[in-house]
Every structure is written in C-alpha cells, then in structure tokens.
Symmetry: C2
Subunit: 226 residues, 2 copies
C-alpha cells in the first residue's frame, strides 16, 4: 500500500533533541538557500490533502494553517505555522493535511528531494529532520489531550501555545480569525469568543483588539492547562 520512491537516509547519531543553536543554525542557513520565496495571498492554497509531498515549506512572513475537511463540511485545523516554522514535511509520500496562508505570506518552497539528498550526506541535517518529525508527533499528541478538555481549558491551552513562541512577551498578536481558533480547538466561534470574554472578565487576559491579547495572569492560564 505504501510506495516510496525517493531514497534518503536518516542517520540517528547521538543527540537528537536539544540541539545546540549552532547545529540547527547550519540547517537553517543551508535550507534558506534551497528554494525560492513564493508569495501567497490570504486564504491561498499552498497544497491540498492527498497531494504528493514533493516540497517542504518554511514560513518567511505571514502565517499558515493546515487542515482537513470532513465530508459534512466541518473543518479540523491541525496546526498553525508562524515565521521561522517549517511545515509540509511528511513521513509518507502524501500530504495528510491541506495548507493555506492565513494572511498574505511569503513561503520558502524547498524541494524535498534536495533536502533528502543533503540529509544523506550531512548527519546533522538528517538529525534535524528526524527531530522535526518528533516535534510534529508531539504536537499531535498534545493536541489530542487538548481536545478532550473543557472549552476554557482548550482556549487557555491555545493561548499558552501561541505565547510559547515568544515566551517572554506578554502580548500575543493572532494572525488567525476566531473561526480558525474554533476549528483548531473543536469549538464554535461563539464559545471561543465567550470564553475569551470570561478570561478578560477574570482579568486573566486583556483584549485591546480582537486579535491582540495581553497576558495578565499567565499562572492562571497554566493552571487551566493542567
């Protein structure tokens, strides 16, 4: 059932997680020259579920959502990707999600075969690819745990996830609309909105603008996240 046509190797040498800055830097710098930066407009499709995963992608600016559509029209968002994030790396041959730009975005598009060829020669690159897969698996597992919680816990988890990208910042600027958040968390927009309002009333967050969130009590959020 599974046909794999590309040859690549993924040496697992010593340390995979917790790579030093220098190590991942080489991957980052090398990959940055491996493809063109392509602009996508808001809501523009980057790839579709089931397509061959011929490329992988790195967000230069803007942001991206991956998602699946169910037959009845429901949409499940698998993840959000912000500048610096790499997405579209599949273990199998095909994309298991679709991907769209959330806002106008610049995306680095890199031939998978080129990366794989590089990984075959450079153990560091290979290791980095392997640990990207590990992170993706981790994200999925965390998401599963999130989805069985209450609405408040889900929203808190989402906010902390967004905040973790700038751990020190107290301000979150969301690129995505409420519907995106709702489809990520398995809730409705109304519930997301109401829950955010509740968090604002309890002075856990502030909402100066609908897509700008200030964390006023990160501890309270973390507690909800348990």
């Amino acid at each position: 059932m599974q046909t794999q046509t590309i040859t690549y190797r993924t040496p697992v040498t010593g340390s995979v997680p917790g790579m030093s800055q220098a190590e991942s830097c080489s991957f980052e710098t090398q990959i940055d020259m491996m493809g063109p930066a392509i602009p996508f407009t808001r809501n523009g499709e980057i790839y579709g579920e089931g397509e061959r995963a011929e490329y992988l992608y790195k967000v230069l600016s803007g942001s991206v959502r991956t998602y699946k559509l169910l037959t009845d029209g429901r949409r499940q968002i698998g993840g959000f990707y912000l500048p610096g994030d790499i997405f579209g790396l599949e273990v199998g041959d095909d994309h298991t999600f679709s991907a769209e730009a959330i806002v106008d975005s610049k995306i680095l598009v890199i031939k998978r075969s080129a990366v794989m060829a590089l990984a075959a020669r450079d153990a560091e690159i290979a290791s980095e690819l392997w640990s990207m897969t590990a992170r993706e698996l981790q994200r999925m597992q965390d998401h599963i745990v999130l989805l069985v919680k209450t609405a408040r816990e889900r929203v808190a988890g989402f906010l902390l996830e967004m905040a973790s990208l700038q751990p020190l910042a107290t301000e979150i600027n969301l690129p995505m609309c409420r519907q995106d958040i709702a489809d990520y968390l398995g809730l409705t927009i109304e519930t997301v909105s109401r829950t955010l309002s509740q968090l604002e009333n309890s002075e856990t967050i502030a909402l100066p603008k609908s897509r700008q969130i200030l964390l006023r009590n990160r501890g309270a959020l973390s507690q909800l996240n348990c």
Copy 2:
C-alpha cells in the same frame, strides 16, 4: 502494581536509511529473535510516561493500552495494541505515553539500540521503522479528527478501527473494558454504553456479550464515520 526494573544504557549510533518499498516480512522475522518474551499481568505497567525509551515492544498475546494521566486524574488513552502490533517506538528519547497490559499478555521486549544498529546495516529495516513512525503519526491525526465528532461518530469510528484489524470478520472481540473505550474516545462509560445500545437498537450491531460485537451493517457505521 507491577514494577519493572530496567537498566538504562546509552544508545544509538547508526543511521536510519529510508526508502524503497519492500515487504516487512524480513523485519518481522528478524525482530522476533531480538529479545525475550516477557509476561505482563492484567493492568501491569510496561513503561511509564517520561521514561527513557530504551526498548520497543511487540505484542505476542494479549493487548496493550498507551495513555497519559492528566493532573486532575483524567486519563487519555492514546492507542490500543493487539497481537502483532509494535509499540513504544519513539522518535525522541523518552516515552511520551505510559503503557499497560489490558489483560495478561506476552510482550516481546527488544533493545532499541539493537534495532537501530540493524537498521544502520539494512535499509529494509530502516524503511520499516520509518513507515511505522508514519503510521503512528497517521493514527494520531485520525484520532484528532475522531475526537471532534459526536459520540455516535466516535463510537462508530472506534468499532471500525477495531474491525479493520480483521477486515473480513463480522465479529469483534474487545479486550478492553468500557472505561478504556471511554477514555480513548473522550466520553464517559455511560455514553459509550448508551451509544452501543442505540447502535444495537438500530440493528447496526449486535451485542451477544458486552465485549463481543457483531457488525450487522458496516455501511451504516462507515457513513457515521465520515
């Protein structure tokens, strides 16, 4: 409560070359001789979340659940593993779930370093490991989609998942109790039980015994699964 003392050793030098489709038969036969078969009693712990993933495991008889415990005592089951299934293969260094025997089980326990060393020399093994990871990722993604559906859809999805192991059989023999199913689907036992009763009333399934389920209308289940 079963305590399993495991000596940790430092792992893994070698490579995991990927690619080129082949049958997993050689992998299966080779792996079967790489470790001892260990008996675990019902509810016995096989490994705990956060432990070093020093081994991987193959179910010889019985069955296994993997799970996470939340701080408030809720339990999320990540997956069920039946005879022939391999589990405990992690991309990172540590187990992200705990694992327990659901019933008295015989488990083949294989040193991860040994498998990795083998994979370094044998591209077929490496490819098989890679595609096991792909399947695991796929399972997680499918689970995410399942968890945002209605109770009836989740139960239908669960039954089809169990049935897919013997695609032609019309009879499912469940090793796990209702609580396990509930914690897998993010529902309560009562809801699982009621939903099964509903499916029986609508003649979609039959329940001769509580853990034996006959599929009387697989099409109806599949439709729910969409």
